[in-house]
Subunit: 323 residues, 2 copies
């Protein structure tokens, strides 16, 4: 949520000289994305997002990310694609950072996950999975099930005692239950390229329609229904995780099913997949919580908001998922 | 350089319902200004900046600021003015903060203070002072000469020992010399409403022309030539204050003089006024430096960059100022 790497007017002009998109008319750092420096750029030819990739994005993965969003954009998905320079290159270097120009998309980030918006995003996710079918490049999920026990172990004192209880007395037990359930992870389900982080703030809407799916930097090759489960966990609860909204869940699942039908094994596995998704966000938030100074200018996200979802999913049946 | 107060899509829609500027098409938090939350808003009718004023801006001063930028905009200055709602109000409340919609202006922040840009900004400052002549509302300069000795005193340990030497061994002596010089502050010079912070990042340019002067939240009623001196200190040195660029100074002063002629007393006072300006930024930066954790996500600005300018101005004659 910040601009880490400044770009001067002269540096921008030199960068744009490699492109066929005119000269800068306006250039403003925007507070979008968590990890990177983002600028909203208007040129005499149109509008773009300029992203400089900061340390937490692995530079070696960038060609994969850009290839995937380019693939989706080329198939007409509402995904802003990378813009190529005169030599056809999309990945650049600027001020010591990997950098890319991305198309600008109108729309406003969803902040209220209404059933109508959930239906739209379900359909958009189905179209994403359909369009991903012939994308053959593979990227492992660095935050998949195999990462969760090690991540929980990193939420510990140097002497090995867990610090999860510092966050909430109920958290250690919930994480233990989540890890136990994830040990029996559904196997053999269809795999594709997934977004893996389709939270409301990664969806732009205009007049009720999805105009953009953004922030693909957790995208990877993984279980298709796990992506549905992540989206379910992100969209179907109150922000604090205390209230489940069946109407949003039904709308999300109907939106998806209208484009792509999950098979019986996927539907049966959804509660466990969603418990895994809730565990994944519980753990990454807990790790960040324990490693972010309380007075830092970044907002810490409460791990309990997803630990409560985890508890709900551990007790859920497939029928309760809204599909 | 951050968004502190979030605004949801629903909150934005409710806010815009009071205006006659259409519905939101795009809405992005921007990293602009140091103190406030700023959003770039596009509606079906145009583009705007939505500012929510955070704690460090005194809410009681906001009507004055909005009246001044409205005054300048109405006189054709390149100053984005406030936008009124259907009831004619510009100052609003949004999410517990005072808030205002401001016109959007194209242009890119100046990052390289070339002589050509310095000439343009000098002329723009002259036009600002001309247009301010019939603005009769008064606001005292909270960071004027009377504030400097108390501010230096606040850069101290609880036991009273100065901490300026922690920043640089030369800093205590430079500040003492600056305070001594400021004790003999030029009196009786023409007073008007001044910007008081016209640094390159508060100026937008397009095709070499000033498209916007922004960030008026230090504007106040004070010595006209002091505003020229602030701008001189901001534009005519290398960023670290080690190199004075006479060509930029000449261009700045010529640009200003082409619009508005300083009188002989103002020209004679310029080195002392500029030493005061350099002292003011040295002290506010020193205070922030000593009170910002080294690991905070905000960039600390080096007080020595302006202490070096202070040393230069203390040794300068009016002839050396470029006028």
């Amino acid at each position: 949520m910040a601009v880490y790497t400044p770009v001067s007017a002269d540096e921008l002009a030199a960068f744009l000289a490699g492109y066929d998109i005119g000269a800068a008319v306006s250039f403003k750092g925007i507070a979008e994305g968590v990890e990177n420096s983002n600028y909203l750029l208007e040129t005499t030819a149109g509008r773009f997002i300029l992203t400089l990739y900061e340390k937490r994005v692995a530079a070696g993965d960038l060609p994969w990310f850009l290839a995937f969003i380019g693939h989706l954009a080329a198939r007409g998905l509402p995904v802003p694609g990378p813009v190529a320079d005169r030599q056809g290159r999309t990945l650049q270097q600027l001020n010591g950072r990997p950098a890319c120009l991305i198309e600008f998309a109108p729309g406003v980030s969803v902040t209220e996950a209404t059933p109508a918006a959930a239906r739209e995003v379900g359909a958009a996710l189905g179209r994403l999975h359909l369009a991903a079918a012939d994308f053959t490049q593979v990227r492992a999920n660095a935050l998949g099930p195999a990462s969760w026990a090690p991540l929980a172990a990193r939420c510990a004192h140097p002497d090995g005692g867990s610090r999860l209880g510092e966050i909430d007395p109920e958290l250690p037990g919930l994480v233990a239950a989540g890890l136990a359930a994830a040990a029996d992870w559904p196997a053999g389900l269809p795999v594709t390229t997934i977004h893996a982080d389709l939270f409301p703030d990664n969806v732009l809407l205009l007049d009720g329609r999805v105009t953009a799916l953004i922030d693909f930097y957790f995208a990877c090759t993984d279980t298709r229904a796990y992506d549905v489960a992540v989206t379910h966990a992100a969209w179907c609860f109150s922000a604090d995780g205390r209230v489940f909204f069946p109407d949003r869940a039904t709308a999300l699942m109907q939106g998806y099913a209208g484009v792509l039908a999950l098979d019986a094994a996927e539907i049966a596995a959804l509660p466990r997949l969603a418990a895994g998704a809730a565990l994944r966000f519980t753990l990454t938030r807990a790790y960040d919580w324990l490693n972010t100074p309380a007075d830092a200018l970044v907002t810490r996200k409460d791990p309990m908001a997803f630990a409560r979802r985890l508890a709900w999913y551990l007790a859920a049946t497939p029928e309760m998922m809204g599909g």
